[in-house]
Symmetry: C2
Subunit: 614 residues, 2 copies
Amino acid sequence: MRTSIATVCLSGSLEEKMYACARAGFDGIEIFEQDLLVSQMSPEEVRALAARLGLSLDLFQPFRDFEGVDEDTLKENLRRAEAKFQLMQRLGMDLILLCSNVATATINDDELFAAQIRQLADLAAKYEVRIAYEALAWGKYVNTYQHSWKIAQAVDRPNVGICIDSFHILSRGDDPAQIAQIPGEKIFFVQLADAPVLSMDVLSWSRHYRVFPGQGGFKLDEFLGCLARSGYAGIISLEIFNDVFRQSNVQRTAVDGLRSLIWLQSQTAALLEAEGISSHLELHALPGRQQAAGFDFTEIRTEDPEPVARLLVQLGFEFCGQHRRKPVQLFRSNDARIVLNSQRSSGIEAEVCGFGVRMPQAGEAAERAQALLAPEVPRLHLDSEADLPGFRAPDDTEIFFSADKSGWDLEFGGEPLAAAEREPGAVTGIDHINLAQPWQSFDESVLFYTSVLNLHALPGTEVPSPRGLVRSQVLATDDAGVRLALNIVPAGLATLLDRQHEYPEHIAVGTDDIIALARRALAAGMEFLPIPANYYEDLAARFDLDPALLTALQELNLLYDRDGRGEFLHFYTQRVGNMFFEVVERRTGYDGYGAPNAPIRLAAQFERSRWNSH
Amino acid sequence: MRTSIATVCLSGSLEEKMYACARAGFDGIEIFEQDLLVSQMSPEEVRALAARLGLSLDLFQPFRDFEGVDEDTLKENLRRAEAKFQLMQRLGMDLILLCSNVATATINDDELFAAQIRQLADLAAKYEVRIAYEALAWGKYVNTYQHSWKIAQAVDRPNVGICIDSFHILSRGDDPAQIAQIPGEKIFFVQLADAPVLSMDVLSWSRHYRVFPGQGGFKLDEFLGCLARSGYAGIISLEIFNDVFRQSNVQRTAVDGLRSLIWLQSQTAALLEAEGISSHLELHALPGRQQAAGFDFTEIRTEDPEPVARLLVQLGFEFCGQHRRKPVQLFRSNDARIVLNSQRSSGIEAEVCGFGVRMPQAGEAAERAQALLAPEVPRLHLDSEADLPGFRAPDDTEIFFSADKSGWDLEFGGEPLAAAEREPGAVTGIDHINLAQPWQSFDESVLFYTSVLNLHALPGTEVPSPRGLVRSQVLATDDAGVRLALNIVPAGLATLLDRQHEYPEHIAVGTDDIIALARRALAAGMEFLPIPANYYEDLAARFDLDPALLTALQELNLLYDRDGRGEFLHFYTQRVGNMFFEVVERRTGYDGYGAPNAPIRLAAQFERSRWNSH
């Protein structure tokens, strides 16, 4: 599939955008006129730079407010158009986007639209320019693809076709199925955009909130399937107006965009294959999608392992050994393995730096990650050591794939560790990992984890904290064997370091008997995050709890929640550096994360952080 | 008027919020339950702290999802309510907010609603608690104030009245006029919120985008007028859910909130006085509203005045003199006076630090600013020197008021400067000042300038820059004698210093003949901000310009715009420190600011800034 991206998706100068698109691996770009206007580069320079970078210049856009106007305006519009055709010649471009008239149309007459566009087409033909007519969702008279196609047919010129933009169709709730009836060769261009499901005016939604395919709520695989059915064999381009992308690192955004198209074509290929439909789009399928079997380990980077080790021992973890070569320690309780890594840890008190997931076919999972442009984590392994392929997520978390019997823990002690007898109140495994996300890379992270790890996104929530709302997004495998909670913390007024301390990341481990575990931890000297008395009074008001349980909860600083399926008990340790631990007990299938309790935790940590800084 | 504010409007812990509200000068607060739950303070401590700070605890809120339920749920709800009444006793509070049921109502029956709320009322009476019933705009069955009032009447208990919230009424487009028909004593509480006019689902709009009165698009003076007509004599409170306020400095937000109520009651008092209506609200009117006659001067802070002075001389300004006592210089061209201040300027290359406006009654303008809680700028003046009262805007700009004949310029030379003969191409005066705003204080700034300087806000715009969209808001006097453009720059990835260099502030001065001025400036060695050739090609395509004019524009790096009234020609100087100058010529009444050219400028400055940093 030939891929392209509109320059308006990215931050920076036109030159920076072109470099970023080429490095990411796009085949071409759309020149958004504004980006050229503000550039010091001449059209000839742009053309030459694109040629050197191997980028095709696929579409010049937008040309606005042309058809449906009076004769004087038409004359003016044709003059304006001719100047742009001349500019396109200098750029070496042959396709222009004509948007349906929004502002200046005064005559609602399909025949007039066609006649005027025919004049434009004949003028364009002199410059060997083709015209892709696009119905904007808020076009004054023309705002559906069916209508733009009807007009393009009436124009009846070989150099006039239509442009299909998923946003303009799906935002209106229109059915894309009829795209399949349009001859593919009359679809001159395709632009894809996803968007979160928002209820707001469509213009603002379009201009600020578009996201890359897979980051929103549109079914773009089905949409692309409709295009495949039409016989379309052209370019698939991204046109994403997004306030955050405009502020983000141009190179990362370009990679994020291409990843979305790689993922989408694989999804679509699977869809079409299931229906036995062949496509001219040459959709590339990714190496097999597989379900992660669970967390293999989590990794903490720390200059001094002792404070974290102390917490782990208080939680009942056992020290397994030191790595044979590296300053890395392994702790374990049943299926929960925690690695304390002191490499490259100068000045780092403690932070969650990565995790491993068990994959039935670890090699294939790594190939998939590579195909999805995940940056590799180079890690030396000797011949006698396990080779776990590793990749860096947008939030800098390192993710490793391991087969069921990779045996990496052999490097920590010579003998595989016998699975300890599961005692009541022992930590049984890793329940979930909570990772802080920079606001610039949240959508990127969601797509990364969804596509590379095959997680699916649950509905997002917002949690009030003393410094602003924290946006939270859970991603999980279908069987919830791997669960991640991504949090975007508010930018606020604090410095980065303050923010890390107020919004630390955490590892949540599970147990079958949290009260026994908490009592043992308390006896071992563990300090819990203190929960206010007001919380327990409200708990009593909200739930008709057994008074003995309520007393135990308050005594041990445990929190409580309930859903339709069961109960959730959990507690938090104090923070060490930029991380802490949570211990959870899920009773009879509770499936949430104690969301009502998250504000309590955030306020308590905030209070503690202020208290520590005095 | 008694003022109050809900703790949910503010950032920080409950304790911090209470201190901030008391310091700002609120009479009381609403306790938002979540803020109490997450607090380590006991209810008794909260009560005692409020007493010491002189804050009344006006409303406990919210109590949700009570009425319209089955018998079992009702029983559970009454149990839950009783726990809250007991809590209120410990807090010493007697008023609770009951929101119309959103989630759990299953029976749509007004009589049942009334009967169930009557049970609640009788339980509440035992604890001497009164209930203010509020129709949420998205209540399942009850979502208008008329409906909630009908039910409150049917409940027929002295301890049940209604709560009126402007957002829930105005967001639906409901007419508040009927509020005047409700007996004031049955309105137990009033919450005010403004909001920008947005087209989105009302729940998201309410939870994230509310703003203080005067910062949005609701006509809250008319709304408060309706309440006055009802005979309401109670508290007017602010309940603002705003994502930015939640992240901002708690003390500043509290002052901002109280300022909004001070301003609103004065606006409402004027409205009622004009209609001859008396009110029990005891609305306090501010000292007279007056129109600023124009800019008196603008002030630039700079460690080394020479680079700015060089620009001014190139633009035709004359040096008038050095201040008799202070390291401050005055430059002038006709009505444009520019002060270069080197006090407290260590390390500051150059920045726009303030401006003076001429006020017919400067003393009264200062009283008004004081009443609006504007922080004063302490400035020493000897008996022989002019005393210009000064105030600090939320963006730290210093604003001074001067009477027409304050004679402060005498301090710069001994003699008042004769108004220079106005030559063609001389700078004639200050056209507007463009001030960068931190994103946290944008709404605060708009209210500040609107209320303290009597400016009105024009529709906002968004300007693309290479690092994100810049939100721009023009504020002006009715006759446009004083114009400010406030810009919020994107947070982006850059450091604060980079941002200042990429998004500097500027002073725009006017002239009658910009081409003559630009030629003289060029001859004097001025470097203009270089405008790309692509811009002039587009200009030729958009406007049918005289080729000679187009050539002159390009040669001189001038930009061009046109509106229904006339033409606009302008150019930019290079940046010095965090500021630059713009020169504008408005032909035949052009009233804009060259908005289509702003992206050209931002990209050119961005390019320049990168170039300089290499």
